[in-house]
């Protein structure tokens, strides 16, 4: 499903002293199969932009096409759209509410019109996919779980509805390194199944470099760059302009260069860095 954003503009609390432009004339396209990273400093409009994709924020100015849907149209089948575009909020564990883990995960599918039995099957599948031991945890209260487990259950609650597009707002915030890796590997795993497109907000450049094939940089409500991680992180000036820091792999390369070892190319993952190092040693 292709997502096209055209001249999108959004203002919070218009015509009050609290007025604030959050998005200013944003235009870009997300292709089927993309894993796209959205980066930018706090308050640059990343979350606001992402909340447009499943019409949680209705468009005030501009256009968005998500596959067949025209989000700027007056009438919109919100149910079908939100089923197709799943959205994981920041700290999603704070939205758990049901008596049991199973019911919480089945909440989405039931809302999207599945029968109780079908929803339970989808919930079981989703929980197993995120690495939760179903037999052990399904009947527990979500409030009894550990932080990492809660996050997984919350993710299961989104993917149980089988979305084609997955929007993740800082999915790894507040997790330990092990938890971070697991969540991102899960996203990679999901992309092999029914999730076609992933849109990910992150402050962690290592994650962006390793997992995304494209990256959008927002700065002060405006779209600054629409490029690939390799290009972005290869360009030191581009980075310093926006106050972004290169991923560790690129920083290692820079440090080596200062000491006279010039690696060719921009390593985005540990594996790439190691193979580049192998070339010069």
């Amino acid at each position: 499903m292709q997502i096209k954003v055209e001249n999108l503009k959004y203002t919070y609390s218009p015509k009050t002293p609290f007025e604030k432009v959050a998005l200013d004339d944003i235009t870009f396209t997300i292709n089927d199969g993309d894993t796209i990273g959205i980066i930018g400093s706090t308050g640059s409009g990343k979350s606001t932009l992402c909340q447009h994709f499943n019409a949680l924020i209705r468009i005030s100015k501009g256009k968005i096409y998500v596959g067949e849907w025209e989000l700027h149209a007056k009438k919109l089948d919100l149910g079908a759209l939100r089923q197709a575009v799943g959205m994981l909020f920041q700290y999603p564990e704070y939205q758990l509410f049901a008596d049991t883990v199973k019911d919480d995960v089945a909440f989405g599918p039931i809302n999207f019109g599945k029968s109780k039995e079908d929803a339970d099957i989808l919930a079981k599948y989703a929980l197993e996919l995120v690495g939760i031991n179903y037999d052990e945890v399904a009947e527990k209260s979500p409030f009894e779980l550990s932080g990492g487990q809660k996050r997984r259950v919350a993710i299961a609650g989104i993917i149980a509805s089988r979305p084609e597009v997955l929007v993740l707002d800082e999915p790894t915030a507040g997790l330990d390194p092990q938890g971070k890796r697991e969540i991102l590997d899960l996203v990679t795993e999901l992309k092999k199944s029914y999730v076609k497109t992933v849109i990910m907000i992150s402050h962690n450049m290592d994650e962006i470099a390793e997992y995304c094939n494209r990256v959008i940089v927002l700065n002060d409500s405006k779209l600054l760059y629409d490029t690939t991680p390799r290009e972005l992180f290869a360009n030191k000036e581009l980075l310093s302009q926006t106050g972004l820091q290169a991923p560790h792999t690129v920083r290692v390369k820079e440090l080596l260069k200062d000491r006279g070892i010039d690696l060719q190319g921009t390593p985005l993952t540990q594996a790439e860095l190691i193979s580049l190092l192998g070339g010069v040693l």
Binding site: R82, F89, P92, Q95, F97, S161
Partner: protein
Amino acid sequence: MRDVSFGQYYPSNSVVHRLDARAKLLLTIAFIVMVFLVDNLLAYIPVVVFILLVTLVSRVPVLKVLKSIKAIIFIVVLMSIINLFANAEGEVYWSWWRLSITSGGVLTAINLALRLIFLVMGSSLLTYTTTPMELTDGMESLMYPLKLIKVPTHDIAIIMSIALRFIPILMEEVDKIMMAQKARGACFDRGGVFKRAKALLPVLIPLFVSAFRRADELALALDARCYNATPNRTKYKQAKLGWGDLVATLITGVFITLVVAINNNFWGLY
């Protein structure tokens, strides 16, 4: 949810904003008394003029003040309907079974609705023009006599200020949780009253959980900063009564006199 504006501060540098919080608190109470003094509809004229005057001088948009009524519109309607039937005095307009609408009932209903509306408008003007900090300091200062008989006035004041401060925070939280549940297909504006109430459960449970979590964190943060370790806290901003407060009191006094005068038909208007 952002429309619920009751209890929010509206920043501006108007004369009303600069009045002493204690004066504004007392004058708001005086205004409420003024509203409840009215028993002739004509006497609402000075009340309306007064509230309009204060709104204009305070530079809070009139629409914003009117919006504060939105939160209580349900109570206003309900109370009016109950009063419409409860008062059976005067001329009977319509009756069925044991219910009847009478002139007395209509009058009580209108009176009550107007009273509630002005009450909320007046008090929201207070919160629009006074920061929660000023308000609590004002309350604490006004409660001084109680302190002499060992009432923990400072604690009461701080509890009130925390409650006020948390209204917008919890509103934001509600917004966020609602969005998250909407993303999972929840629908809050369809179906009958019961269905809608049930649909709110996935919002209310996380909201309560997070409210308790926040309370815990806040308590820890207060402890960590040795809150209440010293018996007498000093204040950064010392409130002082000024000329403006005297003028505001006089103006309010004039309007109260007007209300009483019209109520008692002082000029023989009716």
